[in-house]
Amino acid sequence: MLLITCPYCGVAAEETELHGGGEAHLKRFGPGSNDDDFTSYLFHRENPKGVHFERWRHVNGCGKWFHAARCTNTLEVFGSYSAQTTEPPKDLLDTIRAKRPGFTWRDLA
């Protein structure tokens, strides 16, 4: 059971009130991009055992999309943050580095 705090309404929302939206911070490659970039955008995903950054939607609530960082192994939730960003906030990364020294996720470490 996950309890993720929605950054918009401040509710510690229980998993059934939310809907997962897959990996966070994907950069879109659309028409005009090369095949490798498009393939990677469309199909290649992180599948970490440990720290993961995901998109979530507070579907039975304020309806907003947001980002959350959690551990896929222990289900510990490190924090949530606005969807209007291309990378996790620094203070959240510092928290995760302190709790999971040496974690890597894409080019984050």
Binding site: C9, G10, T16, E17, N60, G61, G63
Partner: protein, 190 residues
């Protein structure tokens, strides 16, 4: 208002709490940046209430405003005034990025009355209903069993539940079942 076609025709149930389908609650949805001063001024003009802050409610004599999300509020008024008020507010906000719609007939509203209402709601929604965590003046948009619903408390023994009209019967049956006289858990009783 005999001409209001209620979802369940004013159904009621008496158990741990008294559940009643409210006759004709006027509801107007407002979408737009709730921190926008022009929107706040328009709402104050037409509905006589200030816009609520996060997860709060504001009530005046027979109007009210409920916080739904950072860019959505549900405005309450008398049923027969809803359309006129929605039109008036829409006209006032014509030059602002906002949307105002009368949704009175798209929703069903139930009133729960009784000291056990926290327990009845807690059985159905993933919400901490302890008096420290949820109190009158707050609104919670969540789910009840399988459908979306919102509820707020008018006072310690009165709550109102709003859901979509299409699932009104489902929610009424859920509430009635949770409020069955033989189904008390007494989790919140003092």
């Amino acid at each position: 208002m005999s001409d209001v076609a209620l979802a369940l025709g004013g159904a009621s149930f008496e158990g741990l709490v008294k559940i009643e389908e409210l006759a004709g609650q006027g509801m107007v949805t407002l979408r737009g940046d709730l921190t926008d001063k022009a929107i706040a001024a328009g709402v104050l003009d037409v509905f006589g209430v200030t816009l609520p802050s996060t997860r709060e409610t504001v009530f005046a004599a027979n109007t009210g405003a409920l916080w739904m999300s950072p860019d959505e509020a549900l405005l309450l008024c008398a049923y027969n005034e809803a359309q006129a008020k929605a039109d008036e507010l829409a006209t006032k906000l014509a030059n602002v990025h906002a949307l105002v719609v009368n949704v009175s007939d798209a929703r069903a509203v139930f009133q729960l009355k009784g000291s056990m209402l926290r327990e009845v709601i807690a059985k159905l929604a993933p919400v901490d209903m302890s008096p420290d965590a949820f109190s009158p003046g707050m609104v919670r948009r969540t789910r009840m069993a399988q459908v979306a619903a919102a509820f707020w408390m008018d006072d310690a023994s009165t709550a109102r539940v709003v859901c979509f009209r299409s699932v009104g019967e489902y929610v009424f049956n859920l509430l009635s079942n949770a409020a069955d006289a033989n189904a008390s858990v007494r989790h919140y009783s003092t």
